[in-house]
């Protein structure tokens, strides 16, 4: 008995976590998938009815807006955050005397909660008192900056705040990547008189491809899950102009009492995430084992 116990201790230690993950991750995904195929409203029902919830979902103009917003927000956020992060990393890589301090400044937003970020930007973008009023006070009296309350522009305020929050993180990733490139090759190139920008475009950046991929995965994952920032910054409004799938799901689950819709929208979110993350993780884990 003690011998058995001794041999199986590692398995017994891992077992509770493994069971928890099976139930609370995979079991719960199964539950949500099941409910998304039923007519559940306020309370879950378990008679499978087919894809009615998905039909309703894709016929809903609000979901349409949410998906459109996800594409606008996701594309702009990912591209701009990556470009900005890369530019900052390259600038910081030029033997800057105050590098430590600047790095700290660029990265601190990442320590803040999205709710804090949203609250701060909501105040700055407030059309009555924020940037608009300040610039008008400088003498540009016709200056207008009311994106926050403009249904067509409000989604871009979310892009702005999200970039402010996350671009420092991309900078840190790229900076680590730049520093890990073999210094000998760079020195050799410099001795040959190759200009700095050529060294970057021809040698350094191509060798950083895996980091580009990681940054892309993390940012797209952040974009799809974005919830807090929208809640704090615009509350999904004006109307539902800044709804994202995550806020749509939350509204259906907790204020509309439409569990079937909530479940089907959550499943669509999960499929989008998995379409991006699964191939990535698969390749990562495979190369690890080799």
């Amino acid at each position: 008995m003690t011998k058995w116990l001794e041999e199986n201790t590692p398995k017994l230690v891992l077992a509770p976590s493994f069971i928890a993950v099976l139930v609370f991750v995979y079991g719960f995904i199964g539950w949500t998938a099941w409910v998304s195929l039923t007519r559940s409203r306020l309370m879950p029902r378990y008679e499978i009815e087919g894809l009615i919830q998905y039909d309703r979902l894709f016929a809903s103009p609000r979901w349409d807006t949410a998906l459109n917003n996800l594409f606008i927000f996701g594309a702009l956020f990912i591209v701009i955050a990556m470009v900005l992060g890369l530019v900052l990393a390259i600038l910081l890589d030029q033997n800057i005397r105050t590098e430590g301090a600047l790095r700290t400044i660029y990265l601190y937003p990442m320590a803040l909660s999205m709710i804090v970020t949203g609250t701060a930007w909501k105040w700055i973008l407030n059309p009555g008192l924020g940037i608009e009023k300040t610039v008008q006070g400088w003498g540009f009296e016709t200056f207008e900056f009311d994106w926050l309350v403009d249904p067509d522009m409000a989604i871009y305020t979310i892009v702005l705040a999200a970039i402010w929050q996350s671009s420092g993180f991309v900078m840190a990733l790229f900076l680590a990547g730049l520093r890990s490139v073999d210094g000998e090759i760079i020195k050799a190139a410099q001795v040959d008189g190759i200009p700095t920008w050529r060294v970057y475009t021809a040698i350094i950046l191509p060798s950083m491809a895996p980091i580009f991929l990681s940054a892309f995965i993390v940012l797209s994952h952040l974009a799809i899950k974005s919830f807090d920032l929208v809640i704090a910054l615009t509350g999904g409004g004006p109307g539902y102009a800044t709804d994202l799938p995550a806020t749509y799901m939350y509204a259906m689950a907790f204020s509309r009492g439409d569990i079937g819709q909530a479940a089907s929208s959550a499943m669509v979110m999960m499929m989008v995430v998995f379409a991006i993350v699964v191939p990535y993780l698969y390749s990562e884990l495979r190369t690890r084992d080799d």
């Binding site: 891992l14 539950w31 600038l91 030029q94 600047l102 990442m110 701060a120 105040w123 009023k133 959550a266």
Partner: protein, 296 residues
């Protein structure tokens, strides 16, 4: 050297100096962009409402007053209740401290098993746990709400701790696994030959080696739990809400005059613990961020 050559050389040098200036100017402008919201938050929180209405966003306060801070801490209203951020701040502490401790300890044990006691299926179990890190939590919100109800901890602080521990396990296991993988397995084998058991090896050999990764994991988990909003807003009720939910309620409460200075003070209060961690242990914070995304 001819005069012409000297001239081009000094020209090149001025060119370099100008480039350098442009570089520092750009970096400075970016620094202003990142600092501006913090600056605005701090100055606004120190102004009176009157000054906010008449002055502009980026002006320094003419008269510094801490009234807004006092209100934000103990008097601001979240809906009907007017107790400020204080009770919610302590809720967050009560959630974060056990949540971080339990998930870190479990992560260390799990990581130790996966990295050092490879048995058949260990890799599959680890992969399954890893995938769990990447699900959008929306997909578990509904069943979790029911499960917490069945367990009798719906709307309670232990309930929220439970949720954070469960969904933190993937990352904490990943951190420790990647750390322990680099420790030669001969160490474990030798200790086994000497008659040491599983817990003995973990406790006396591996845990003392783990300080750096413990720091990274604790910072990562603390930031995650402290800054969480989705679980907090979904699974808490009036008395058990964490600080992020309280902040959102204060800012979006519609009763009475909008007190922007109180909003900003409340936002800083909500942000202070993680900012402090970042300032004190920034190196480990960054390591956690990058380890959580690039893995290893």
């Amino acid at each position: 050297m001819t005069d012409a050559a000297l001239a081009t050389r000094s020209e090149r040098r001025t060119g370099k100096v100008i480039l350098r200036w442009i570089l520092y100017l750009l970096l400075g402008l970016f620094a202003l962009f990142y600092l501006m919201p913090l600056f605005v938050m701090v100055t606004t929180s120190l102004k009176s409402l009157e000054e906010i209405r008449t002055g502009d966003l980026i002006a320094l306060p003419r008269e510094i007053t801490f009234d807004a801070w006092a209100t934000a801490w103990s008097g601001a209203c979240t809906g009907v209740q007017c107790e400020g951020m204080r009770p919610y701040f302590w809720n967050s502490v009560l959630i974060a401290v056990p949540g971080v401790a339990i998930s870190t300890l479990l992560g260390a044990l799990n990581g130790f098993v996966v990295a050092q006691w490879r048995f058949r299926g260990a890799n599959i179990i680890f992969s399954l746990m890893l995938f769990g890190c990447f699900i959008p939590f929306q997909v578990v919100l509904l069943p979790m709400a029911r499960m917490l109800g069945l367990m009798g901890v719906a709307g309670t602080i232990p309930g929220l701790i439970f949720v954070h521990v469960i969904y933190g396990l993937g990352f904490t296991t990943l951190f420790f696994r990647n750390y322990y993988v680099s420790i030669p397995s001969e160490l474990t084998k030798a200790a086994k030959v000497d008659g040491a058991g599983f817990f003995r090896i973990f406790w006396s050999i591996f845990l003392p080696l783990s300080l750096p990764i413990i720091v990274v994991t604790v910072i990562w988990q603390f930031t995650q739990i402290w800054n969480d909003f989705l679980f907090g807003v979904s699974f808490s009720q009036a008395g058990t809400q964490p600080v992020t939910v309280a902040l959102n309620n204060i800012v979006n409460s519609t009763t009475g005059v909008k007190e922007y200075n109180v909003d900003m003070a409340a936002a800083i209060i909500a942000a202070l613990p993680t900012l402090l961690v970042y300032v004190v242990a920034g190196k480990y914070f960054i390591r956690g961020l990058t380890a959580g995304s690039v893995k290893g």
